[in-house]
Assembly symmetry: C2
Homo-oligomer: 371 residues x 2
């Protein structure tokens, strides 16, 4: 355990017995919300930071659940005493997204009306819906003012927070993110979904007590992984090196290290993630489009009262720098306070989970400005 | 039918009853070689151009097989009277690659020893092996000197020709190609193969009289298609436009045009291509590495006697411009005659099949130089 870690943490569940109106018009509930908190809320209840996870994340953002855990929470490098999100100063909240599979209600949860998992009877959700659910949690915790921060899909949620709850959000930190996916981004998600939907074990989403559609989910994850890296990082990490051999095998098995890595990523992902959740959450990501919803990005941002920090990474081709610049320009155009920072990194989209030193400096200085 | 088309064409089969030694050391034969020719071989037998197809191409490069055909051969825009490859001057030869599924022996061919399709008993082949088979065809046709030309995997074969048969190849036209795939390129191929191998109907490659592994092959093709385009071309072609609707459906089906396009590409591909061939040919592409084989790219090129034309496209991220520059630099370094041309194009890797006007000018002027 790292000495500056938040230490032992645990995921709690807030059981919300009401319903929310989803973007689709459907009233949905009850909803379990899985969350963790680190640090303490101050008297004014205005020192909270909501960190928002990416596609396959969960509420466990920092610390260790058990002394035997090999890995800490997914943003442990960023959350803790004197870290970017300093638990000595801030009350950090992290929750699993609606539609997820790590405690918050999603397609693998039991539908109380049937006593069986929702499966494909789970309603299609949006980033806006996920944010509505987070608002329930934040209200429950008694938070009055909020800083929101997230990378990738987490950044989409942070953007949505700043637009949906303008009187609530004081600062928004948007990392390696976008106000809308590119056509290429939709395409990669669509192929991943296709791999899952066409797995013989998918069984129309009803597989929870049967064979799991692991091959399809594994292929979807492999596709995703290629997009999270970039050619430069793949070249450095693997190049054309063979996997434990001097010469290729001249068979159809694995020859190159990069193949072995991807297959491993696919296999381990299947153990921790639900195929239906993958379908629903990628769909939510595809749907997210602030400019479509408000007519233009400028229109969307007119109502925000937050200060923005936009961070992007030079080698990120999934959520490219140009998209972060687009957000920044729109914010400037409507007179909002915005800091933009492009970090030179060879790590591709994954940089937001890796380049924590540079991010820490930038985020600390942004947070320091008026607290 | 286009007036400057080569008109009605047909695929012939050369039945080679000998064997060749494959890169793996295996002696393999007999081999059927499917080919087409356009134009006439001159008396000196030195006006031949061998055009080499990309991953999923075939021998049918130009003209129409039937008056009712909707589509001509795959490079019809480039082959014909007064076209880039001018059939008034040149004798154009095109053949299906070893391991393919359009007439040349491949995994779907009948193994004469068993009377059944080879399936996965087909040997793993390389680009070098494919070129060896083409040499048999070229000798059979009585060709004494050869110009080789190809895009993508076709360019790899053209490079291999110029290195393997230095006294034979007078000119080599290498389009949107590389001397070795990037780690990212291998990764995309590996995921595609994985999708096929994990299809329940794949049945260890023995599916010819059973259910076809169409879902896996379709996913592999979709992945491929994303890499053949680029974000710019996808943005122009599809953007975030919805498919025949004003609002998203809020279900897990197809919402965006780009999804519909990819699914269509996947479905139609399954009708014309063999899943086993996809495995074998992508593996051959992964293995190809001139610098690994000869110690360095310079070493590989030392023995060539060809003049080279290297064409690449600005938006091609699968076979990026940097790789064409690498080839060019190596050729220059060992004193070879080389012309390099980067074409500004928004069409991604697919540009070699689309940007035929610019390519025609460049290729014509290159071919004119001393014939």
């Amino acid at each position: 355990m790292n000495s500056s870690s938040v230490g032992k943490t645990e995921t709690k569940i807030l059981k919300y017995n009401g319903t929310i109106e989803l973007s689709s018009g459907i009233e949905f509930g009850p909803i379990d919300i899985a969350y963790e908190t680190y640090g303490s809320l101050n008297e004014n209840a205005d020192n909270a930071i909501l960190v928002l996870h990416a596609l396959t994340g969960d509420a466990h953002a920092a610390g260790y659940h058990n002394i035997t855990d090999k890995k800490p929470g997914w943003w442990n490098d960023m959350i803790g005493p004197e870290k970017a999100f300093d638990t000595n100063k801030y009350f950090i909240v992290s929750s699993n997204m609606l539609g997820g599979c790590s405690g918050t209600t999603g397609p693998s949860s039991i539908n109380p009306q049937t006593g069986k998992p929702y499966g494909l009877s789970f309603p299609v959700i949006t980033i806006e819906d996920a944010v509505k659910v987070q608002k329930i949690l934040v209200d429950f915790l008694g938070i009055k003012k909020l800083i929101v921060a997230g990378g990738s899909m987490g950044g989409m949620q942070a953007l949505e927070w700043s637009v949906s709850f303008p009187d609530y959000v004081s600062k928004a930190i948007i990392i390696a993110s976008t106000s809308r996916l590119t056509a290429q981004g939709i395409a990669f998600n669509a192929v991943g979904r296709n791999a899952i939907l066409s797995d013989i074990n998918f069984n129309n989403g009803d597989y929870y007590d049967k064979k799991y559609p692991e091959q399809g989910l594994s292929v979807a994850r492999m596709i995703g992984h290629i997009t999270y890296l970039c050619e430069e990082s793949m070249h450095k990490k693997f190049g054309r090196r063979l996997q434990n051999k001097d010469k290729p095998d001249f068979d159809l098995g694995i020859d190159f290290q990069v193949e072995s890595y991807l297959q491993h990523q696919g296999h381990t992902f299947v153990e921790r993630f639900d195929a239906n959740s993958y379908l629903y959450i990628t769909k939510a990501v595809d749907y997210f489009d602030l400019s479509e919803k408000y007519g233009s990005l400028e229109n969307a941002f007119k109502q925000t009262n937050a200060s923005f920090l936009i961070i992007c990474f030079s080698s990120d081709w999934l959520f490219p720098v140009s998209q972060s610049k687009e957000i920044t320009k729109a914010l400037v155009k409507v007179g909002k306070d915005v800091s933009f920072c492009e970090i030179e990194s060879p790590c591709g989209h994954d940089a937001f989970l890796l380049e924590f030193k540079t991010q820490t400096e930038i985020i600390k200085s942004f947070l320091k400005r008026d607290i």
